[in-house]
């Protein structure tokens, strides 16, 4: 493992949310609390001291229960957020596909949304013109192109989102629960497509609640729990086993 191959490196990354400040209490309450000296902000660390590195061609799986800090970490990796502590070094273009189905505009048609999303992912107009029919074919949305987006079923929305997103050719690709969209047949199709992208040399980060997917596709695993890093290892099988044991133990404890 030489240093030149490192595509992404996170060192001691911590991300803090503030609780109880402006966004929760509004201007009036903020002023009165400031005046009476009762103003206090509670820190909430969504991620605490997370470190990992991935090399070219790696596929990193991130596992953890809800609220473990997975999505927040990905936002920091993609540059939408900045870590409160620690640093992240990226090599190459990062494209993050987070919560795919949201961020579309319900009033626009399928076509208009496709172009808007394409533009957000950095595609040029000519590229979109060329690819448009392929996108619609892949998403199986022929005949729906002029419908307002809000009339589509949620499966259709995610399919469109995936079809547009899968055209990207980034150096680092981040997938947050993306592969779990659509029905069975579409899922198989999208997994095949994803494998194709990864084969093309992209370094990938995958967040999934499906341990099977992680086992099958990833070469490294990062396990987060309540913002803390439990494990970062290339022993995918071992880590997944331990994680499943942890989940089973928790389930038993609750019952």
């Amino acid at each position: 493992m030489s240093d030149q191959n490192i595509m992404l490196s996170c060192q001691g990354v911590s991300i803090r949310y503030k609780i109880g400040d402006l966004k929760d209490i509004g201007l009036k309450e903020w002023v009165t609390r400031r005046l009476t000296g009762r103003y206090s902000v509670v820190d909430f660390w969504a991620d605490k001291d997370v470190s990992f590195t991935i090399n070219e061609g790696d596929m990193l799986g991130i596992i953890g229960t809800n609220g473990a800090g997975k999505s927040t970490l990905l936002k920091a990796v993609s540059g939408i957020m900045e870590p409160t502590e620690g640093y992240i070094v990226r090599k190459g273009r990062v494209v993050a596909l987070l919560e795919l189905a949201s961020g579309f505009d319900g009033d626009l048609t399928v076509t208009e949304n496709a172009y808007l999303r394409g533009a957000m992912l950095g595609y040029t107009r000519t590229f979109m013109d060329e690819m448009y029919s392929r996108i619609i074919d892949f998403a199986e949305l022929k005949g729906f192109e002029d419908r307002p987006f809000k009339q589509l079923s949620s499966g259709m929305k995610s399919r469109l989102a995936f079809s547009i997103a899968s055209l990207v050719k980034p150096e680092i690709l981040i997938l947050d629960e993306v592969l779990s969209v659509g029905d069975g047949s579409f899922r198989a199709k999208s997994e095949a497509k994803m494998r194709e992208i990864i084969k093309g040399g992209a370094t990938t980060i995958l967040v999934s609640h499906s341990i099977g997917q992680i086992r099958a596709m990833c070469s490294k695993v990062l396990w987060l729990d309540k913002g803390r890093q439990i494990e970062f290892t290339d022993d995918v099988k071992g880590c997944c086993d331990r994680y499943e044991a942890f989940l089973a133990a928790r389930k038993n404890a609750k019952v």
């Binding site: 949310y17 503030k18 402006l22 966004k23 509004g26 201007l27 009036k28 903020w30 936002k75 993609s78 540059g79 939408i80 957020m81 900045e82 993050a96 987070l98 919560e99 949201s102 961020g103 505009d105 009033d107 626009l108 208009e112 172009y115 808007l116 394409g118 533009a119 957000m120 992912l121 950095g122 107009r125």
Partner: protein, 245 residues
């Protein structure tokens, strides 16, 4: 991306309206009509071309109001985009302003038509109008940026700003004249950027003269101050917005 945003904003704004952009023209014209009927008896006696005088004020003020109101909300409305994709956040505000600017341009054409009807003599000096329009553009962009940043943190800004705009409307001498006021009040007017822009346009259109160098510098000063403040807010809070949406 910018192009697609602009298109989206247009489509959304005029969706399912019969008149479409006509509404954007109609509202200042109706305001003009109401003000003319209401105030001509009081102020129209001492002001020549009172309709044009009114229109100068309304034209400028409406642009400013629309631009800052739209700009204020632009960032929050696009929260679902910028929390998922790393895009330059000023794009949303600029996109709204393209539309507002176009409305303004249309209204300006109508304004010139009214000038002709009102027998205002056109001259080459009208070209100077490019100057206040440019400074006003940067001024309102800057204010819009500052407001949109605050709007993310305090939703109260919405109400505060609509109140402020109302006060500003009455304080910008849209339908009255300022020369009867005492010097201290005159000074207050001279500190009002919107009024200064209106006054510039009136001087060119109604008096046919080019305002002083000092006026030009003041307008540049206002525009620069607002725009820099806006850039500062966006730079400083670029990664903070996310936590508050």
């Amino acid at each position: 991306m910018f192009e697609e945003l602009v298109k989206r904003d247009f489509k959304k704004k005029y969706k399912r309206t019969i008149l479409g952009m006509g509404w954007s023209l109609l509202s200042p014209l109706l305001m003009l009509l109401v003000m003319k009927v209401a105030f001509e008896q009081f102020f129209g006696r001492t002001v020549d071309h009172y309709t044009t005088y009114l229109f100068c004020g309304l034209l400028t003020f409406n642009w400013f109001a629309e631009s800052t109101n739209g700009g204020m909300r632009s960032l929050l409305w696009n929260a679902s985009i910028f929390t998922k994709v790393n895009v330059p956040k000023y794009m949303f505000l600029f996109s709204v302003n393209v539309q507002v600017l176009l409305n303004f341009a249309l209204t300006l054409l109508v304004f010139f038509a009214f000038c002709a009807i009102d027998h205002v003599s056109f001259s080459w000096r009208f070209l100077c109008l490019v100057f206040p329009i440019t400074t006003m553009l940067f001024f309102s962009l800057g204010i819009g940026m500052v407001l949109s940043a605050f709007f993310i943190f305090f939703r109260d800004i919405d109400y505060i700003w609509s109140l402020a705009l109302q006060l500003l409307m009455y304080g910008s001498a849209i339908f009255y004249t300022v020369d009867k006021f005492p010097p201290s009040m005159q000074f207050a007017f001279s500190m009002n950027p919107v009024y200064r822009h209106i006054a510039y346009i009136r001087e060119v259109v109604l008096a046919g003269t080019i305002p002083s160098l000092e006026t030009h510098l003041t307008l540049i000063g206002f525009a620069l101050a607002a725009f820099l403040a806006g850039i500062f807010m966006y730079r400083h809070y670029n990664t903070e917005f996310l936590y508050y949406v």
